[in-house]
Assembly symmetry: C2
Homo-oligomer: 144 residues x 2
Amino acid sequence: MDRAALFQKFVTFTTALHEVTHELTKDIKPDDITPVQYSILEYIAVSQPVTLSQISDCMHISMPNTSRELKKLTEKNLCEKFDVAEDRRKQLIRLSEAGQTMMDVAFQRIGGRFLERIKHVSAEELEDIERALDVLQTKVFQGE
Amino acid sequence: MDRAALFQKFVTFTTALHEVTHELTKDIKPDDITPVQYSILEYIAVSQPVTLSQISDCMHISMPNTSRELKKLTEKNLCEKFDVAEDRRKQLIRLSEAGQTMMDVAFQRIGGRFLERIKHVSAEELEDIERALDVLQTKVFQGE
DNA sequence: CCATTTGGTTATCAAATGATAAGTAATGGG
DNA sequence: CCCATTACTTATCATTTGATAACCAAATGG
């Protein structure tokens, strides 16, 4: 298989993962937050504490819009801002207790669906999967 | 590694792929179509000919909204509708010549970036990657 | 200590997207 | 032949998202 064919396979793969992700995460997001807000919360949950600039950079949302959405999230008591002693311009963002609980429940449910999906795979296959994830992570994703 | 830990790894993996995809596809979409329209064109390009219902189902866009966006795309001469002889309610959608050219160029550029990204991997590693994609495709994605 | 950069906010606007109701026309099953 | 269903359309509305300008305050670097 040449590299062009591998690209084709990669495209198919990406599409399939996208679909699986959609299956795993559908109906997870609470109704009272928007999709963008939910994805910001996901990012905070995984990377907290984070600054506004980090959110803006990583999620490709402009600073003004990040600021706006974050303000809404704090108003909903889902996350909190803390001042940074060393640099008083910066603010660190963390999930509030309610936000943490919400995201814990969400991840719990997604994880459950994932386990359900792989419940039939054997222990050896499980290792194959783990190796596969590592291979792609190291050889394709962290290119340079 | 237990299954819960594998889930963690899967989440990390998904995030990384998302970021890579963003890198590969940024600034590819022409300015005169919206993100949703572009993703519809991607889907048509890969699956043509398709019906409106298929687009609606696969992309998780309601029929009215699919109809609206497709109307805009045909008005921009990027795709065409054909009547189906057997069932006159249905319509098959294909890219127009201009649409095909546009998507060919887009895929060409994305493919180029992908090749650039894997240009340093050896022939053996290439096979590792291919095997990894197959493993995930069969053992995780097509779960039932 | 002044100019520039960084980190963030507020306000405002336009565009994109999502949701719903209501309708047409064709099909298909009793 | 009629009723329910399928496939799609049109219209309309609310919400979300993206983009821009203008601003403040703290830091940083000559």
